[in-house]
């Protein structure tokens, strides 16, 4: 029995960053909007308060704020010839759930991708020649250029109160900022965070090697700050409980702090929590999504919410699942290369580290925010010559500390036993005298890395799990070895008592150790409906009233944390809807 509800102008699926941005912009344009959020109505003033907001076991280890794998997970295999098995316990990535989504428990690194990342395929072809890109590397250009997106990056940074320093202000290069970044029209809204001890050691070593460091752009507000919504962020306390935790200081930008309070006082907006969207009702003939069906997770009752406009703002996997189960677009097949849905699933080459130990230096790793790094960008993207290297892309290289929570942060030199007397001595000796140099590398599309529907395993609503076919490829392996060597070189320049070796992602991808919640692709944006799912305004080619948000639209993943680009694209898409689509509903790009 499905209860049919009264039609609304727009329905937003998932109320995290993109759902909140779209709901806010659409209601401002006069539309009535219903937000469907499968999780609880998490309110910082109630749910993120001292002292329990600092409960390491509950939040960081038992994963209180994340998607419940019992309800929904993905299955995984390395190659199309293998049988996928379900990810029974989340590990490698930790999607969010609940009001604010992962935006309430992220770390806050808020980047713009490089201008060359925006036009990756044409840039590499131009610089390295027509045959330089291997045929299995199915990278694409973003159909939106850096210059076009610049004002939207800028706006999202202001919404978040990002702390940082410009390195390229309207073309002028500035020491102390990231001089590799694209030209910015404006300085960051907040000054950089106070540098950590690890960061100051990094800065000195890099200077000795001839590299200019900068502070990683951080949505942890360095000062009390009021954003363009008129909403106020507090100043960061450097509490060391950031990623996986909510923020009691309201210093970490989140939809809950930066946008949602204005939606709660907006009569045109209605939030429905515990509303788990099950499927899209797709009219193939009309090329429209007519309605959204959801289940009230408290009662099991099913509802159908008709809407003129549907915004898909769930996580990467849910976006893919809802498109695939509704049959909006053709499923990608790696054997033929046909179909776009599920194509170009990418990840992040994360968790590459070199640990440095200093007998004579005190690090205080527990005094830190989640996005608190001292970086170089010399080995990122195409900022260095790839001639003869045998791979494309690069990595953010950074040092810093994010926490000293000892269940998970206890550096000891390699070769130390994992337990017993010797382990205890090493742990006590080095806990406050070590930190990591880390690298987050880009993930470029490969024709055999893709998403489709699992034939065997189902989620709590009875739908197939999304099946992930993914492995690290030759480009990835060469990239991390190259970056590992750079990190070791920087580490040695710090003159540590003990150092590494570089621990980089070698061998097969594993879903067990945490790496990164930067899953991307599957519903990618592009200029060609044959190889992409949404157009440059994130409008589905096969359903003109469906707009797909988030990193599932990335054709590949740059090295940078994705939220800055996700936020910018949401504002870009929202403007296309409110300025053009509403007045004249139909395809915004001719098919």
């Amino acid at each position: 029995m499905t209860t049919i509800l009264k039609e609304v102008d727009a329905v937003v699926i998932g109320v995290g960053w993109t759902g909140s941005i779209m709901a806010r912009e659409l209601t401002k344009a006069g539309l009535t909007v219903v937000g469907l959020e499968r999780g609880a109505k998490r309110m910082p003033s109630e749910d993120f308060t001292l002292p329990n907001v600092r409960d390491d076991l509950k939040y960081a280890v038992r994963q209180e704020l994340f998607q419940d794998a019992q309800e929904e997970t993905v299955s995984f295999r390395h190659s199309p010839s293998e049988t996928a098995l379900p990810v029974r316990r989340l590990g490698s990535f930790l999607p969010g759930t609940g009001l604010g989504g992962a935006g309430s428990h992220w770390n806050g690194l808020t980047w713009r991708i490089l201008p060359s990342d925006h036009k990756l395929r044409s840039h590499l072809t131009e610089r390295y020649g027509r045959n330089a890109i291997p045929s299995e590397m199915t990278i694409e250009d973003f159909p939106v250029s850096y210059d076009e997106l610049e004002p939207y990056y800028d706006h999202f940074e202001k919404i978040c109160g990002v702390s940082g320093k410009a390195g390229n202000l309207r073309g002028q290069k500035i020491v102390g900022g990231n001089m590799f970044e694209g030209p910015r029209q404006n300085e960051y809204p907040n000054k950089p965070l106070t540098q950590t001890m690890a960061g100051s050691i990094m800065e000195k070593a890099c200077k000795d090697l001839g590299y200019s460091t900068f502070s990683g752009p951080s949505a942890n507000s360095s000062e009390v700050y009021t954003n363009p919504e008129g909403l106020t962020l507090g100043a960061c306390e450097f509490c060391g409980h950031c990623e996986r935790f909510g923020c009691e200081a309201n210093a970490k930008a989140s939809p809950n702090v930066c946008i949602l309070p204005n939606l709660f006082s907006e009569p045109k907006f209605e939030l429905r929590n515990y509303a788990y969207v099950k499927e899209l009702v797709y009219d193939r003939q009309a090329k429209k999504v007519k309605a959204v069906r959801y289940v009230d997770t408290r009662t099991g009752e099913e509802y159908e919410q008709p809407a003129g406009l549907v915004v898909l703002g769930a996580y990467v996997f849910n976006n893919n699942l809802l498109m695939m189960t509704a049959g909006i677009g053709e499923q990608y097949d790696p054997a033929t290369g046909k179909g776009a849905l599920g194509r170009n699933y990418c990840y992040q080459l994360s968790g590459n580290t070199v640990t440095v130990f200093f007998e004579d230096k005190v690090i205080n790793p527990f005094m830190a925010s989640g996005a608190h790094t001292t970086n170089i960008d010399d080995f990122n993207g195409d900022n260095f010559d790839h001639g003869g290297l045998g791979f494309f892309g690069g990595a953010i290289i950074a040092a810093g500390t994010t926490n000293g929570r000892p269940i998970q942060t206890r550096p000891v030199p390699s070769g130390t036993p994992r337990w017993g007397r010797e382990w205890k001595q090493a742990t006590a000796k080095w806990y406050n005298h070590a930190f990591n140099i880390g690298a987050s590398g880009c993930s470029y599309a490969h024709r055999e890395n893709f998403l489709d529907l699992d034939p065997t395993y189902k989620d709590v609503l009875g739908r197939p799990l999304v099946r992930m076919t993914y492995n690290f490829r030759e480009n990835d392996h060469k990239l991390v070895e190259y970056i590992g060597a750079q990190m070791e070189r920087i580490g040695r320049a710090m003159n540590p008592t003990r150092i590494g070796p570089a621990s980089v992602r070698r061998g097969n991808y594993s879903v067990v150790p945490y790496q990164s919640t930067h899953n991307t692709g599957g519903t990618i944006t592009g200029s060609d409906p044959k190889t992409s799912v949404v157009n440059r305004y994130l409008q589905a080619w096969q359903a003109d009233n469906l707009f797909v948000m988030g990193a599932s639209v990335f054709p590949q993943n740059a090295s940078y944390n994705p939220t800055g680009l996700v936020g910018a694209l949401a504002y870009w898409s929202a403007e296309a809807i409110t300025k053009r689509y509403i007045k004249n509903p139909g395809p915004l790009v001719p098919v």
Binding site: R54, T73, E237, F238, M367, P406, K424, Y431, V511
Partner: protein, 244 residues
Amino acid sequence: MAEDPKIGRREFLTAAGAAAAVLAPAQLAEAQQAQPVTPSATAPVAAPAAPPADEPLLTLTATEHAFFAAAADTIIPADNLSPSGSDCGVANFIDRQLAGAYGTGARLYRQGPFPKGKPEQGYQLSLNPREFFRAGIASANEFTRKSWAKDFDRLNEEQRIAALQAMEAGKAEFKGFGSAMFFNALLQITMEGFFADPMYGGNRDMAAWKMVGYPGLPATYRHDIKKYLGKVYDKPPRSIADFS
């Protein structure tokens, strides 16, 4: 429980002739056959068993509790840095964790089928953590009985270290899953108990935090981050209970 605090939980049961009661029923028949020496009150005890638990158990059997306590004391031996793992409450922490949502499989996708996967596909057993540790401890004790004719918690320190090393290396014979997998789970939950906030039953007196110099709460360092740059933050740690 009418237990003499000087007599460990296991001694009480075995002395009462209840050795059978400490074995999981499924393992019982097998254990009785495979085990030439059943632990008894008269068996020589090379090392004292875990000190008596001062808290009642929620889910663990006496055998399981003794195993976790002995493992915690081997993984985290008492020295000048901290008391032993069990004296810090690690076994009680584990008892509470396995009795609660985590132990009964919260956040664990449990739909079948359950074929054996590749290691990179992660945990693929049908067991929840409570069931996993029940089965693993039975296997571990069976293994030590074969090698040393005693349950793990009755071994001396040297033997316990050797037994854990064998499990860590995947060289101990286990039923249903590898010993390395069991060891990794044991190590993880032991470290959780040692380092988690004391309100969960382990890390008594914040011993683990004192050992490494982790100050705990309230962790508001807006000014201290500059003041203590490169300097030891020498304030005593505080936990959630100190602010509740």
